[in-house]
């Protein structure tokens, strides 16, 4: 198993092995699931209460389906760990974080200084993505963040 290199959570990491999306529903004691690019993350929505870890696999960093999977889970209120796994490189870290990922297990270790720079690169953002950041339009017009950010 690939090591988690960056984690933005205070709770204990879940040690359970992740099972596939199509078997998760039947394994009533499973708490961790692995989402592949072709999986429909919405199949997990009935089980959010027992889900503690979702690994989203990026077999190729150019396949962006995992970004949508992450947002769908966060938009549905999933508050557990959301881990990007696989072909994760420094230049994707900031975008992944914006889509709701809060832990990262890259195939190849990323230079920690580069990663820190990447996570902190953008002082502001144009879009509301449910990551708790106030978009530029909200700052321009004094709006409070009113997306359904469930993670406080």
């Amino acid at each position: 198993m690939v090591e988690t290199q960056f984690r933005f959570r205070d709770d204990e990491p879940v040690a359970d092995p992740a099972v596939t999306v199509d078997s998760f529903g039947d394994q009533t004691n499973a708490a961790a699931v692995r989402v592949e690019p072709g999986d429909d993350a919405r199949e997990l929505l009935p089980f959010l209460d027992r889900l503690k870890l979702v690994e989203v696999n990026f077999p190729a960093f150019t396949d962006g389906r995992g970004y949508s999977a992450a947002r769908i889970l966060r938009e549905a209120g999933y508050a557990g760990e959301l881990r990007a796994v696989g072909a994760v490189f420094v230049d994707q870290l900031g975008h992944l974080r914006r889509c709701g990922f809060d832990s990262f297990a890259p195939n190849a270790a990323i230079d920690p200084a580069d990663a820190e720079a990447a996570f902190n690169r953008w002082p502001d953002v144009y879009q509301a993505t449910g990551d708790g950041r106030r978009p530029i339009w909200a700052k321009r017009h004094g709006h409070e963040q009113h997306s359904n950010d469930q993670r406080g």
Binding site: T62, G64, S68, H95, C99, Q127, R140
Partner: protein
């Protein structure tokens, strides 16, 4: 003209620093080319046959004179004294050094410009009507909506690794001058029966090897849901667009394979969900943007008189100028298609001259058209002759707009690593074949040339289209007839076997002869073709 505030400026400045860091890592070897490639593409940087090419964004084709002057200066400082205006209303430079690109981006950022998402599998620079804000036939100025979409699409974290590139056009006129229905998403700003402004969405158009005309997927999205609906369209595409074959990865294939109704159903479901997510900017943001596009201070009661005593000037007015919504003003287009020239090219000096002329005679504004020309949108008729004289002295007074010499051509095999055949020499030979008198006799004829099936030269949408292919190592050119962009969009049909470089020029000439022999009344080439069909053309060309 939109003006950056501190947030917009910080976004482009941050991008410059991000890209500087990426280039540094690429040069010192920590970033492999495979990982660098999508990053540089999303900054408009291609590796072409001879050098890097940098494509600079001109959002919705609108520029001020300071920006235009900078484009000329960049051509001198970092390129070989030329820039090439593109069919996406952008400009590209063909002889760029990788290590200098961060400095170019830094220079651009000083005039509120960038190269963000001018390439790559992401939402590209948004195009629009080149006569926006000047034409009498528009409902509203489409550019505030395009600017709202520009901000939404810039660095949208969910949509930076789409199955394929994604092109959006926004118009607000029934006369479509932006080939809107040949885009991944085409948006027409419309008014409903209640008098409210909204957006009609078309999805799944495009050219490339499988050209498709976008069907209407929603006749009226309320304007305060524009971003949310766009996001729903993109999310369905990001999740379900094909990724197994890059030639089937555009949204047009998804819409085609699912069927329009099923795509619409999925978008509607996602839309209903996203409406609960609070992702739409408040209407106040649109209202903040709108005044930037307010009319300039037109002179009330400006004279509508034009002194047409100079015949060359009168000809140019008739060919290259369009009616303006404001009495006493006119829209003037500079053709970047001189006989024997490279379509869309301009020298650094010409670019700077156009900047000065825009400052002096067009309220500081210019537009780039998707036909690779430059527009002065707001010229006082009293100044038009002076403007023309200054253009003429710089070789910029070619009077051939929308005629056979006003050719759209991709860079082709002279520059592009994807091309199968050269486009530029064919364009040059065609423009040399037809005299101005003959071109006048033929009238409106949109001729478009692509050097490969990716169709960057829009050959599917040409009244006459030419597609360069590679036939056993020899460049071969196929002829298409009957394509058209705009409100009556149609796709060209191939006439038959292809031609050599000289043969294609002869075939084009024969096609124009068939038109002239069969033309009735005021028919354009396209009208005659639609009436009499392919057969007479085929007979003349191959008979």
């Amino acid at each position: 003209m939109y003006k950056y505030d501190q947030y917009d400026q910080a976004m482009v400045d941050t991008r410059v620093e991000e890209f500087r860091d990426q280039v540094r890592r690429r040069i010192d070897g920590t970033l492999a080319e495979e990982q660098f490639r999508p990053l540089r593409l999303q900054n408009g940087l291609y590796l072409q046959l001879h050098a890097y090419m940098l494509r600079v964004a001109v959002p919705y084709g609108t520029l001020n004179s300071t920006q235009m002057r900078m484009l000329g200066d960049i051509a001198d400082k970092y390129d070989r004294g030329y820039g090439h205006f593109t069919t996406r209303q952008n400009i590209q430079y063909n002889w760029i050094k990788l290590e200098e690109t961060p400095d170019i981006l830094a220079d651009l950022a000083t005039v509120e410009m960038h190269a963000i998402q001018t390439s790559g599998n992401c939402i590209r620079n948004i195009s629009s009507d080149q006569y926006a804000g000047a034409s009498a036939d528009e409902l509203v100025d489409p550019r505030p909506y395009a600017e709202l979409l520009r901000q939404w699409s810039s660095f949208h974290p969910e949509f930076l690794s789409l199955p394929r590139k994604f092109k959006v056009a926004v118009i607000a006129s029934a006369t479509d001058r932006a080939a809107m229905r040949l885009h991944d998403i085409g948006i027409e700003i419309v008014k409903n029966d209640a008098g409210e402004i909204g957006a009609a969405f078309y999805a799944g158009g495009g050219m490339g090897r499988t050209p498709m005309i976008a069907p209407l997927i929603n006749p009226f999205v309320p304007i305060d849901q524009l971003i949310t609906y766009s996001e729903a369209c993109l999310r369905v595409y990001n999740r379900y667009g094909r990724r197994d074959n890059k030639y089937k990865a555009r949204i047009k294939i998804l819409v085609h394979e699912l069927g329009k109704d099923e795509y619409v159903r999925q978008v509607d479901e996602e839309f209903a969900h996203l409406l609960t997510q609070g992702i739409e900017p408040p209407l106040a943001e649109l209202e903040r943007i709108k005044p930037f596009f307010a009319d300039p201070a037109f002179e009330a009661g400006a004279s509508d008189d034009l002194d047409r005593s100079d015949p060359d000037f009168a000809l140019w007015v008739d060919r290259n100028c369009h009616a303006h919504k404001q009495p006493g003003y006119i829209i003037a287009t500079v053709s970047l298609k001189p006989v024997g020239g490279i379509p869309g090219d301009a020298s650094a000096d010409q670019i700077r001259l156009m900047a000065d002329l825009a400052r002096d005679y067009s309220f500081d504004e210019l537009r780039v058209t998707h036909a690779q020309n430059i527009v002065f949108p707001h010229v006082r008729k009293a100044d038009l002759h002076t403007l023309w004289q200054k253009l003429d002295a710089a070789g910029l007074s070619t009077a051939n707009l929308d005629q056979i010499g006003d050719i759209i051509a991709c860079p082709g095999l002279d520059y592009c690593s994807l091309a199968n055949a050269r486009s530029i020499p064919v364009a040059q030979k065609i423009s040399e074949r037809f005299t101005p008198a003959k071109s006048d006799e033929i009238g409106e004829l949109k001729l478009k040339i692509s050097g490969c099936i990716n169709a960057c030269g829009h050959h599917h949408a040409g009244h006459i289209g030419i597609l360069g292919v590679d036939k056993k190592g020899i460049e071969n050119y196929q002829l298409l007839l009957g394509g058209c962009e705009g409100a009556d969009t149609s796709l060209g049909q191939i006439t038959g076997p292809g031609f050599s470089e000289d043969g294609i020029v002869d075939a084009v000439e024969k096609a124009t002869e068939v038109y002239l022999a069969n033309k009735q009344g005021e028919e354009r080439f396209l009208d005659t073709y639609r009436r009499i069909g392919m057969a007479p053309f085929k007979e003349a060309i191959y008979g």
